[in-house]
């Protein structure tokens, strides 16, 4: 017997007041209520086990206090950690997040955007990296994370400076031939530019480059490819790739960091327990999540790209 839900009407009836008063009590406004009336209502709410219907409220108020979050792949640890940070940030402000994956497919992402819009989300978080979706007639705030959109503000780590800082560290260890594992992409990725910056700065010539997917398998393939060109260090543009590189190196019977050093961009938890533990350039996920959520709520109008400094975390893989 699924007893139908208690509504504000039941409460009003039980407490012998009008529905308006119940509303005033529940929301602590916008009108004052006499203390004793208030107590009657509270009592009725308690006894009846009343829970306001957020759907009705959303309809009336025109806001669901819900964010939509679309990542290319929920299974990717980086996005999982990002999502966790966003959830935490949203929860703290009474929001809730509809999270979904787009399989790294632009068409799917576009469809998911439509679905979330239909559900009246109050803001949209779009995480890297797919093509620019069509955002015309999206009438809610949108923030891009780890990607830059023409039509929306974005929040990202300082890819270029962070990568440069990491590679520079490798150079300080004495490495002169530093390979790069990077993702495919239309324009030159900032992490690649950062790697170049550091090499140039040190007067070093460019090391070997392997372009591959952002995955462990991709890193593995790239690692094998790079090993043929005997670099003494490898900078991977993502944790996943670095983990794959590590495997390729181990299989080749080489030691890290003695024979070859490795440093990765991202800094997810997995890197702390890889073998050896990976030195990383860590994305400030918490700060990024905080900023993204804040912007969504405050609804800034100007389109701007905000970036945050990364953190260099030294572990064993670089030789430290």
């Amino acid at each position: 017997m699924p007893k139908d839900p208690v509504t504000r009407n039941d409460v009003a009836m039980y407490a012998g007041v009008s529905t308006a008063v119940v509303s005033y009590v529940v929301n602590e406004g916008p009108r004052r209520v006499a203390p004793e009336t208030r107590d009657k209502v509270l009592e009725a709410i308690r006894v009846l086990g009343y829970r306001p219907n957020a759907t009705a409220r959303a309809l009336r108020m025109g806001t669901t206090r819900t964010f939509g979050l679309i990542t290319p792949d929920g299974g990717n640890p980086l996005f999982a950690e990002l999502a966790k940070a966003i959830d935490k940030e949203a929860s703290a402000r009474g929001y809730v997040v509809l999270q979904t994956g787009a399989d790294g497919d632009p068409a799917t992402e576009q469809a998911k955007i439509a679905e979330l819009l239909a559900r009246q989300v109050s803001g949209l978080l779009l995480v890297a990296p797919t093509d620019d979706p069509d955002l015309t007639d999206v009438d809610i705030p949108v923030i891009a994370i780890n990607r830059v959109l023409r039509a929306a503000s974005s929040v990202s780590p300082q890819y270029r400076a962070g990568a440069a800082r990491g590679v520079e560290h490798l150079i300080n260890h004495g490495h002169r031939r530093i390979g790069l594992v990077i993702g495919h992409s239309r324009r030159t990725p900032d992490r690649e530019l950062g790697w170049r910056d550091a090499l140039e700065q040190a007067g070093l010539e460019e090391g070997p480059i392997a372009r591959t997917s952002f995955s462990r398998q991709g890193g593995y393939d790239a690692g094998r490819e790079l090993l043929d060109q005997v670099p003494t260090a490898i900078f991977a543009s993502s944790d996943l790739q670095a983990v794959g590189v590590l495997r390729a190196i181990h299989e080749a019977g080489l030691r890290v960091p003695e024979d070859i050093a490795v440093l990765a961009f991202d800094g997810t938890a997995e890197t702390e327990y890889s073998w050896p533990p990976l030195s990383v350039v860590r994305q400030p996920l918490e700060r990024m999540a905080h900023e993204a959520v804040t912007r969504l709520i405050d609804g800034q109008d100007a389109v701007e790209a905000v970036t945050y400094p990364t953190e260099l975390i030294l572990r064993r893989s670089c030789g430290c």
Copy 2:
């Protein structure tokens, strides 16, 4: 100028029909509409860029087609992969999922349940492992995953049989002293029972046990503890723990699997690229997600605990 949203009223007006007809067209029912009227409406929808308001629909229909998913920690790869599978399953059926983390804290979980109920989710997915939450006056279907609840059905891997199968495999490799890394818990966990089953079955005496948290750090601590008792193989009750164990072993200068073999329960992607790659008892996450979502939608009444067979995946860490 954030032009306010197009409603069904605008469409009706533009097409010169009533709102009812618009509804019939959009939902392809419950009444038939003359083809030409239909075309007019479709045209109006297209021109105006109308998108039905799912919130209003939900209020009227009494269902949001939304699931609530609460995990102890969204950053845990196992839960991230589970969430991904659930998202996929839900999407395919036109549902969407509100995902949130409870920090492994019962009180937080209880609060999140209330929040999701207020938001009228159509079903609730509660993932391991915290205390039994209070589910009285929860009037929607609830499915527990990887945990058993008094008041709701559950979907889990066959922990005991799967663990036994894994340990048995270790025994077949010739191991006679097999340690166990397991989580803390009130009652004896099924994975521990499975480990015992296999040892008993083979007439072996019990190996050393280390009880710790379900984390990489926990596994590391447990690994160090176990190494003092010189087992020749270790069965870890989760991937995370196994990864920690691996680190402890490497630091001790031992080789896997030559000096000590390792096998883990879970089978997340991370294990495929650890060093060496971990042999695992894999949870059938996709099947579990499918079953959980199906049950939520079909709204079975009986409380039952469904379990699914695991898969033994052999890689290098066991000696294969």
